[in-house]
Amino acid sequence: MLSGVGMTDLVVGWALWNDLVHQIAARTRNYDDAEDLLHTAYLKLVHYRTQTPVENVAAFLVRTAINANIDNRRHSRVFRNVAITQQLEDSAPLQDEVVGTRIRLIRTKAGLDKLPARTREIVLMHKLDGLKYNEIAERLGISASAVEKHMAKALLFLTQWTEGW
């Protein structure tokens, strides 16, 4: 049994504490936070009792815990709404951009496939493998100038191929 007079008698036995946790969980339907809510309520009780005597400590703790839960939910709902709204606002243009980029990439890939094999290979060796013209020329047994011509041809074709996409 709790008494509301002095600090020394504000000892809550485990059984009562547990019972309070269950009451709070049942009333708030918030099983995860019930114990935390009780802790918060307990701290408020300690502070409140310095000013005002509390008749029914158990009832005070439960009521305070329920109020704390209401405040938390209100706060987190506002926060969640703000966060979700922000997300919706931010993601709409990003989605368009992502889809547009994907479509252009698909088009570019299709264009690459249309290139002659050697031309395509030169483009990929230079761009993806990072090889210089001389290195490509050596590997393919052609001149660096031929490599440059293949590059120009590929770039022109791909640019015209993807125009408007």
């Binding site: 990439l105 690459l112 590059m151 120009a152 770039l155 791909l158 640019t159």
Partner: protein, 74 residues
């Protein structure tokens, strides 16, 4: 008025990008490129388009899952 690039500008822009990527790119090349860019607003537009395509080729590996890309070997 939005200036659409003609195939002439595109071909020149492609030639220029290929030249600028060469191992033996020279200061003369760069000066000539600069002059070409400044000669006509359509040139910058065309070069921008060619450069964008060039960049996008680099993005292809990241999207291979989407496109099932494979490198053909000669």
């Amino acid at each position: 008025m939005r200036r659409r690039f003609t195939s002439g500008n595109s071909a020149e822009a492609a030639d220029w990008l290929a030249r600028l990527r060469a191992d033996d790119r020279s200061p003369e090349d760069e000066a000539a490129f600069s002059a070409w860019l400044n000669a006509d607003p359509g040139h910058a537009v065309a070069f921008e388009a060619v450069n964008a395509i060039w960049e996008s080729v680099g993005a292809l590996p990241a999207s291979t899952a989407l496109m099932g890309c494979s490198r053909p070997r000669e």
